[in-house]
Symmetry: C3
């Protein structure tokens, strides 16, 4: 039986779950929901870096990402601008983007990622 390691647990969820070479991350949102799509995306990606480092991985080992946007028509370009600055050249994950709604009306982006351990 492969061991399951749970990272940054709270009553509802673990921020990351490591099992058999895969890292399953909880949805990541920005620190400050009052910011625009550029800053919210930067904050989400910085937090993603932090979680990957904490689980002994890095963005070069990302396998797949779902990007959820509150207003995909208005924010798709702004998100992509920040994404392109951040993503590893030559190590791009699979990706899918959808417009959804969130519990807090000021959340503009949430990212759900799966990575490989080192």
């Amino acid at each position: 039986m492969n061991k399951i390691e749970r990272v940054e647990k709270n009553a509802r969820l673990s921020r990351a779950v490591v099992h058999n070479g895969l890292i399953w991350l909880s949805g990541i949102v920005a620190n400050d929901f009052n910011e625009d799509i550029h800053v919210q995306t930067q904050q989400v990606l910085a937090r993603l870096d932090e979680m990957l480092e904490k689980t002994g991985s890095s963005k070069a080992r990302l396998l797949t990402v779902q990007i959820w946007l509150k207003d995909i028509v208005a924010d798709f370009d702004g998100m992509n601008e920040e994404w392109s600055k951040w993503v590893c050249e030559n190590e791009q994950p699979a990706r899918a983007t959808a417009g959804v709604s969130f519990d807090d009306e000021n959340i503009r982006i949430e990212v759900v990622a799966v990575a490989a351990t080192l």
Copy 2:
């Protein structure tokens, strides 16, 4: 080549697919769409328990869960209340929650889960 086991197949989908230590579950909805978010969440989680038992796993081995809500503003707290009663203390999965729409207007919640085999 790792074997793929498909559980509760119908013409469109398998309710669970087991492969190399992972269990991929189809989206689970409630039995009775006329119920409120509390009862629909209870029914979804009971069905999730049943599918995990059927594939030789349990909620203590959940890796990640996506929770989709029809009305995330109205139902987020009610879903979380039932979730917190159900989820394993110390074995919380990664989790992400989004507001989406469903084919039946009375569906309030759908859960998409991945678990590890025992």
Copy 3:
């Protein structure tokens, strides 16, 4: 450390990422967004076949699929009609379907899949 193979990379993403027996596919949309749900679904599934072939797999090795629809009430039946013609008899993946929004208002369907290598 398991190797990661990235297929059809562009600046933002890889169309497929292969790692430790799993193939993670980017979201697939139709070639022609002016088409109806039937043709868009056919185009998406043909492209899915192509990506699975390119990564040395096939639809008989699909593990799970998320189907995202712009108008799930109007298009659920049309999508399912095409899906049922296409999906492997006896090798159905796990599946979940949600209504979401897209960056181009004419996109009616996007499919996000995970498959096993041969």
